[in-house]
């Protein structure tokens, strides 16, 4: 469980990036943190594994205050994948990159071998096992960074903009993977701008603006509120855009799922005798 109690954080240049944030993320929750560039999203999640310590207020991870624990100790349970993969990659081969943390955590060689193979396979990187991460495309490097964290199986996973540069298939794999983590009661926190991805996953959505939380609720409810989204520089997902315009026909506005959309439209078409 992650608890933030009225936290404030100011960078060295005195810019206050967090201006009093309070929230609780329970074990097994899937949370998407959204909002404008510079809203404080990345600053907030860096508090969850102790990379940053609050200037005021407290952050507790599984009941322990982050100021009383080291990043290394927190990392075993809270895995963090950066927005820019180049901030975390440094090994000569993809394989070594993924094995690095496992070695540091003292796993046995045969376990390391198994976990590396598993992570490579999961993220479609097996063919690059012996390749330098720096020869890969941006999207592929991002997957190496993710694989290296997944390999040690943390109970909480924080992903900063995981879908940037990822194609449709990779996003679908990521979605399925997150769903799988959910069934194992693991906590997943993503920071993202990708409204379509969030619409497909329908997690709890936390909307931030200027260092504060401005909304917290079900994806379906927040992603269909045009006024709220505009405030945070986010656009409606495409299905919600369609349904906002269909309001005069008596359709509900809070639709983000394509299958729900299809069912609602077909129902009305049938009622109007347009279909058998």
């Amino acid at each position: 469980m992650i608890e933030a109690q009225d936290i404030r954080y100011a960078y060295a240049n005195k810019v206050e990036a967090l201006k009093g944030v309070t929230l609780t993320i329970k074990d097994g929750e899937f949370v998407a943190i959204m909002g404008q560039n510079g809203a404080g999203k990345s600053t907030l999640v860096k508090h969850f594994n102790g990379l940053l310590k609050p200037s005021k207020g407290k952050v507790l991870v599984d009941g322990v205050e982050t100021t009383k624990s080291s990043v290394a100790a927190l990392a075993r349970n809270v895995g963090f994948v950066f927005q820019n993969p180049d901030h975390q990659l440094f090994s000569e081969t993809v394989e070594e990159e993924i094995a690095f943390a496992l070695k540091n955590f003292g796993f046995k060689p045969e376990v390391i071998e198994k976990r590396v193979t598993w992570a490579l396979n999961l993220l479609s990187l097996t063919q690059y096992r012996k390749t330098s991460p720096f020869l890969l495309s941006g999207g592929e490097r991002k997957r190496v960074a993710l694989a290296s964290v997944l390999a040690w199986d943390p109970s909480t996973l924080i992903l900063d903009e995981p879908t940037i540069g990822q194609d449709h298939e990779q996003k679908e794999k990521l979605r399925q993977f997150i769903m799988q983590m959910q069934t194992q009661k693991k906590t997943v926190v993503i920071v993202t701008h990708d409204v379509e991805f969030v619409a497909e996953c329908n997690p709890r959505v936390i909307l931030m603006k200027e260092g504060k939380i401005v909304a917290d609720g079900e994806g379906k409810e927040i992603l269909t509120d045009p006024a709220l989204l505009e405030l945070s520089s986010i656009v409606l997902p495409q299905i919600a855009q369609v349904f906002t315009k269909l309001a005069p026909l008596g359709f509900p506005k809070d639709v983000i799922d394509i299958y729900e959309a299809k069912a609602a439209i077909l129902k009305q078409a049938r009622e109007k005798g347009m279909l058998k």
């Binding site: 909002g35 404008q36 560039n37 510079g38 890969l136 495309s137 941006g138 999207g139 592929e140 903009e161 940037i164 540069g165 990822q166 194609d167 449709h168 298939e169 990779q170 996003k171 701008h193 409204v195 379509e196 505009e230 945070s232 520089s233 986010i234 656009v235 997902p237 495409q238 299905i239 855009q241 369609v242 315009k245 269909l246 005069p248 026909l249 394509i258 959309a261 299809k262 439209i265 077909l266 009305q268 078409a269 109007k272 347009m274 279909l275 058998k276």
Partner: protein
């Protein structure tokens, strides 16, 4: 006349065991808005690098086949000569910005080719106006938002008055509203100034509606090319793993169930909503 034409273009990076683009033959007409998409690692970015000669002049490696851009054989001319004709905008604007003020950043390319002062002033102001950053021109490019930085990168390219602008996922670091504004700026330049646009994107939800020419790549080769409405409606496109816009997908799902919304495959939520409003409107 085609502004970009390639014939059997195949390119292998130095030290790579297989080519990144394979036998690519495409033709882009002047004034088109071309969208290039395809799974990661399909060769989109590499193809774009051939348009201004970065491949092979900067990246080296082996290029086979023919390529002409704005009537110039890029193999026989340097990248700096191509800069007058083709402007490149990358994913992350920070990598492109360096000057003390936005205005200076935008003027840099012109200074390098020795444009007279008066003319430079005119071109820089025009580029700043087109991208909507004239009012902040004296600020540092490092104290503005990511969306504004990407506008500066586009303005810098625009000041050179290129015939073609190539943008490689230019908004992936931006929030959705800032991204939409950037795409509107690009679309306006295409419509009003007739600049040929080549846009590389995965997110067709945001961009398909602007394009009139779609290229789908896979494993280095061009798999499908032509009218976006036809290509996005085809089963093959979905199987390659292209993320079809949700509005297009919903239209297809409804069509399969027998709901007739007209023949035109929609590319945006606006188009689909209009079709649905028309089809389902109350009749007396």
């Amino acid at each position: 006349m085609a502004i970009i034409e390639t014939k059997n273009l195949t390119y292998t990076y130095p030290g790579a065991t297989k080519p990144s683009i394979v036998d690519v033959s495409i033709k882009v007409e002047k004034g088109e808005f071309v969208l290039i998409t395809g799974p990661s690692g399909c060769g989109k970015t590499t193809l774009c690098r051939t348009f201004n000669g970065l491949v092979p002049h900067f990246y080296q490696g082996e290029l086979k086949g023919e390529i002409t851009v704005a009537g110039i054989d890029t193999l026989k001319h340097h990248t700096y000569e191509m800069a007058k004709h083709v402007g490149l905008v990358f994913q992350n604007p920070e990598n492109q910005l360096f000057a003390l003020s936005i205005e200076k950043d935008v003027a840099f390319g012109l200074e390098n080719v020795g444009v007279p002062r008066e003319e430079m002033r005119r071109k820089v102001d025009w580029a700043l106006n087109q991208t909507g950053i004239y009012d902040i021109r004296e600020r540092s490019p490092h104290e503005i938002s990511g969306g504004q930085q990407q506008r500066v990168a586009i303005a810098s390219v625009l000041a050179m008055e290129p015939e073609v602008i190539v943008l490689d996922e230019p908004t992936s670091f931006l929030d959705p509203l800032s991204a939409e504004k950037i795409f509107e700026v690009i679309y306006k330049l295409n419509k009003e100034q007739g600049i040929t646009v080549i846009l590389v994107e995965h997110r067709l939800d945001l961009t398909a509606k602007y394009s009139n020419h779609l290229i789908v790549m896979d494993h280095g080769a061009v798999r499908l090319e032509g009218d976006p409405r036809k290509i996005l409606a085809s089963e093959e496109t979905r199987l390659i793993g292209v993320g079809i816009p949700k509005a297009t997908l919903l239209y297809q799902m409804l069509k399969k169930e027998g709901l007739n919304l007209g023949d035109q495959t929609p590319l945006s939520s606006e188009e689909l909503a209009d079709q649905l409003l028309e089809a389902l409107k109350p009749r007396d």
